[in-house]
Symmetry: C6
Subunit: 214 residues, 6 copies
C-alpha cells in the first residue's frame, strides 16, 4: 500500500494523534487520526474524505465524550468555547466504515484532556453511543500491517479475539493484544496519566448557568 | 444474521438504551436504540445510517415527548439546554422504516426522565404524533429473533395480535406479549419507576419566560 | 387499501387531529393530519414522507393562519414561541398533492386555538394564500372511502359539486356535503366553539414590540 | 386549459393579489400571484412549485422594492419585522420563467403599501433589478386568455407592442393595452391610491439605527 | 442574438449598472450587470441564472472591494448593514464563466461609492483576489457586438491586446481600447468622480468596535 | 499549458499571495494561492473551482494556524473578527488534490501575520492537521514548470527527494531545493521577517473572555 503514511508515529509530545488500522483492497494499513482544538463555538470539522459512516462515528464519539466529561475531568465549557477538528490523512484517500470509532474517540479524549497517547499502540473497533466496543472486519490484514509498522500493542474488541486465534503465531510475536468490551478500557490503556508538555490552557467567557435539582 | 449485535442487553443501569426488533432480508434481529444527552442548545443528532422514514420517526417521538413533558415530569428546560443524540448500532448498516418508533420514544423517555428501562423487554411499532401505536410488518421473524436472544416480554400494537396468533405456540413459550394502542401504555410497561443509579443532574441558565393566560 | 389507518377517528378530546381524504392508485382512503405544538422558536416540522407540493400546502396554511391570527383570537406570540409539528401517518407512505390543504389548515387552526374538531367530519381541497378553496381530483373514490369509514359530513370545494352529482345517490346516503369557496367556511363547519378538555396554556417571555401607526 | 383558476378575480378588497398571464403548452392562462405578510424577521417564502427563474424574479422584485421603499412610502422596518410569502396557485402545477416579474412586483407593492389593486387588470413582463420592464413570449395566447377571462386592461412591455399588432383586432376589442418601459409605470397603472378596507397596521420593536452622512 | 437586451444603456443617473460583454454560441452580446443595496445584514444575493464560476467571480469581486474599502472611501459599515444584490438580465438565460469579473466589480464599486458609471463603456475580463485582471476568450465577437450596440470605449486585459490586433481595423473604427493589468485601472476609467443625483444616504446602528494596534 | 497564468509573481508587496505548483493532464504549471482578509465574523470563503480535497486542505491549514496562533504572534481575535477568502486563479479551471496544502497554509500565514512572502519561491506538498508535510505526485513536471517560470527556490516534502534525484541535473541548475518534514520549516523558508508596506491594522470589538486554569 502506498496511500497511507507507513511510518509509526512515535512522537507523543502532541496531544490528539492516535494510530488506527485500516483495511483496504490492497491489504491492511496503519492510519492516523489527528484531533485539534481552537477557540470557537463548539463546531466540529471533519476532513480527510471521510464517508458518512465514519463521520457518524466521529459524531458518536464526541457525544459519548460530552456525556462523560465530568468523569474524565474535562471542563464542560471547552465543548462550547472551542472548535474541534478531526482529520485523517492522507487527504485525498476516501475512507469509510465504523472501525475507526475507538481511534477517533481516543484522539478526542487526548486533545480534550491534553493527556499523552501511549506510543506504539494501535487500535481498531466500532463504538456505540453507550460506550460499547463492537467487532470489526479485516483483523488479520490490520494486525500484519501494524506489526510491519513497529506497533507493539493493539486494542481490539473482545469479540475479535477469534480472528487473532486464526493468525499464525510467528506473525504476531512481540505484539501485545488488549481485548476490550468498553470504551473506558480503551482509554485506560491508550491514554497516559501525564499531560503533554506545554498543554493548551483553556480560557472561557463568563457563564451564567445555574444549578437546578431534578 | 451477522450484522446486528445478538446479545440481549441486560444492564439497565444506564438510561436511554432500549431493545427494538428489526426485520431484514435475512430474518428478524434485535437492535438497540441508544439515546444520550449532553449540555447544548436543543439540537437533535441521529446516527447509525438511518433512512428518511426512521429519522422522521425520531423527530415525531421527540415532538410527542415535548408535548407531554409536564405530564411525564420532565423539566421543559432540558429540551432547550441539552442536545439529544440517538444512535442505532451497527453503525455501518443502513436502517429504515417506521417500526422503531416506539423504541425510539422509550429510549428518549428514559434518558429525559433518567428512569430505568425494564430488562429483557423488546418492542416494535410505529408511533404517530398524537401518541397512537400503529401495526408494523415482519412480526413473526421479529418474535423468533427476540426469543432466540432471550427476550421475555414483547410490546406490539393491538392490531399486530393476529400476526402472533399465526405463530406455532411452542415457538413463543415463555414470552409475554403486551398489545397496546397508545404510547402511554408502552411507557407504563417499559419504563420502571426507579431512576438509574447516578442519574444525570440537569442544570439550566436563568430563564425569563412569563406566564400568560390564554 | 392496507396502507392507511381505516378507523374513523372519533375522539376529539385532543386538539389538532383532522380527517382528510386521499386518492391512491388503489382507490380512496381516509388519512389523518396531526398537529402538535411545543415550546420553541417558531420552527415548522413536517413529517410523514410528504412531497414538495404537500409541504408547500402546509407552509401556505400556516402563512394564512398567521395573517388571520387576530381575527381568530390567536395570540400572535404563539407563532414565535412555540414549534409546530405536522405529521401525516402512515409514516412510511409517500404522500403528495395539494388536496390536504384545508385539512392541514384545520388541524393547525385547532391546535393554535385549542378548539375541538367536529367528529365524523372529513374534508379535501386545495387552499390558496388568500384563503380560497380550490377543487381537487379523485372525489368519487374519496367519498366512497369516507362513507365506508363512517364519516357523516364531508367538506368540498364548491367547484367539486359536479363530481358529487355523478355519484349514484345510494352510495352517499346519510352523508352531508358542505360545498365551500373560502377557508373561513371550512373552519366554521369543522371547528367547534368549545376548547378541548385540559387545553394547553401558552406562556411567553417578555416582549418589547411597540405599536407604530402606518 | 384546466389547470389554472379561470375566473377573473374581482374582489380587490384584499391587498396583494394580482392577475398575471401564463403561457403553457395548451395555450394562454390567467394566473394569480398572492402575497401575504405576517410578523416575523424578514423571511421570504415562495410556493406554488416555482422554478429557479421564477424564484429569482421574486427575489429581484423584492430587492427593487426595498431599494425604493422610501419613495413608495413604505416604512423600511416592515422588511425586517415581517415575513413575506408569495404563492402562485394552482399549487401542484410547476411554473417557471421570468414573465411573472412585474406581477410579483405589483403583488408585493400592494401588500407592503396596503393599496388596492385595480380590478380587471392583468400583466406580463420580466423585471430587472434597476426597474426596467423587458419583453416576454407567448403574448398572443396570453392576450386571448385574458380576454376570455374578462380582463379589461393589460400591461405589457413596450417591446411587446409588435406582438399585439399581429393579433386580429376583433379579438382584442374592448381591451386597453398599456405599454411600459419601467416598473414605476406598472405600479402607476395597477395600484390604486386608496388602501384596502381594514389595512394591516404594522408594529415594530424599538430600533437603534442612527443617521450618518456619507 | 435575441436573448440579451441589445440597446446600449446610456442613462448613468443610476449607480450600479455596468455594461459587460458576453460570448454565446451565436456570437457576441452586450449584457448588463446590475447591483443594488438595501438595508440588511451584509447578505449577498446573485440572480440571473448565474453558473458557479460566475458566482465565484462576484464573491471574489466583493472580497476585493472589502479589502480596499478604506482606499476607495467606502465606509466599512455599509458591508455589514446593507444587503447587496447583483442581477444579470435576461433572467431566463443561463450565464457562466469568469469574464464578467471586472464588470461585476465595477458595478459593485459604483453602488458602494454611489459614483456614476461612464456612459458608452463596456468591459470584459477576469479578476483575481489580489486585483489582477486576466485575459478572457471570445474577444473578437464581443468587440463586434459592442460596436454594433454603440459602445465607444472598451476595457480589456493587457494580454488580450493581441486578439484586437487580429481584427480588421475598419470594424473597430471609433472605438477606444483600454488595456489594463489591474483592477484599479478599470475603476479609474469606468467610474466618474461625481456621484449620481440623489445618492443613497447610508445609515448605521451604533457600533462598538475598538482600535487595537497589531 | 494555456490555462494558468505563467508569469512568475515577483511583487511581494502584498501579503497573502504564494506560488504553488500544479500537475495537469498537459504537464506542470505554476499557480497562485491568494488570501485576503476583511472585517467580518470568521467566515472562510474558498473560490477558484476547488474540489473537495482541496477545500479540505484549506480548512485543515486554517485549523493548524489557529492552533498555533499564539506561537506565530497572531492575535487570536483576528480569526473571529475578520473573514478569510482564499482564491486560486484561473477562476474557470477546476482544481483538486491535496498538494496545495502547504501553499495555502503559507498564504494564510502571510495574510494573518502581514509578513512578506519570499519572492521566486514555489512549493508543493500536503499538510496534515498536526503540521506534518506529506509527499505529493507529479514532482518532475512541476519542477520543470517552476524552472521555466523563473522560480529560484522550491519547497518539497523530504519524501519527495527521490523524485528530484531522477531528474537530469541540467534541467534544475540554478534552483535551490528545500526538503522539509514539518510545516514550521515551510514557514521559516517562505515567510520573511519583515511585514509588507502598509500592513493591515486589525481592530476588534471589546471582548469578555476570561482566563481559567485547567
Ligand atoms: Ca467526498
Ligand atoms: Ca472497517
Ligand atoms: Ca446514508
Ligand atoms: Ca418496519
Ligand atoms: Ca422522501
Ligand atoms: Ca390530490
Ligand atoms: Ca419542485
Ligand atoms: Ca414567460
Ligand atoms: Ca440554474
Ligand atoms: Ca468568458
Ligand atoms: Ca464546481
Ligand atoms: Ca496533487
Amino acid at each position: 500500500g502506498e496511500i497511507f503514511d507507513k511510518e509509526i508515529y512515535q512522537d507523543n509530545s502532541i496531544a490528539g494523534v492516535v494510530t488506527g488500522l485500516a483495511w483496504t483492497s490492497v491489504g491492511g494499513e496503519i492510519l492516523f487520526v489527528e484531533a485539534s482544538l481552537s477557540k470557537g463555538k463548539g463546531k466540529l470539522t471533519l476532513s480527510g474524505q471521510l464517508g458518512e459512516v465514519m463521520k457518524e462515528s466521529a459524531v458518536t464519539a464526541l457525544s459519548y465524550l460530552k456525556s462523560k466529561a465530568e468523569k474524565m475531568g474535562v471542563d464542560y465549557r471547552i465543548f462550547d468555547n472551542y472548535d474541534l477538528h478531526v482529520h485523517v490523512p492522507a487527504g485525498a484517500v476516501p475512507k469509510d466504515g465504523p472501525s475507526a470509532g475507538i481511534t477517533m474517540l481516543t484522539a478526542m479524549a487526548s486533545i480534550f484532556t491534553q493527556r499523552k497517547v501511549k506510543s506504539k499502540v494501535a487500535m481498531t473497533g466500532e463504538i456505540t453511543l453507550r460506550g460499547k466496543v463492537m467487532p470489526v472486519g479485516g483483523i488479520k490484514e490490520k494486525i500484519l500491517a501494524a506489526k510491519r509498522a513497529g506497533i507493539k500493542e493493539i486494542i481490539l474488541c473482545e469479540k475479535n479475539k477469534r480472528d487473532i486465534e486464526e493468525i499464525d503465531e510467528e506473525y504476531i510475536k512481540g505484539v501485545t493484544f488488549h481485548f476490550v468490551d468498553k470504551v473506558e478500557e480503551v482509554l485506560d490503556i491508550a491514554l497516559l496519566k501525564s499531560k503533554v508538555e506545554e498543554p493548551m490552557i483553556f480560557t472561557f467567557p463568563k457563564e451564567n448557568r445555574e444549578e437546578a435539582s431534578n
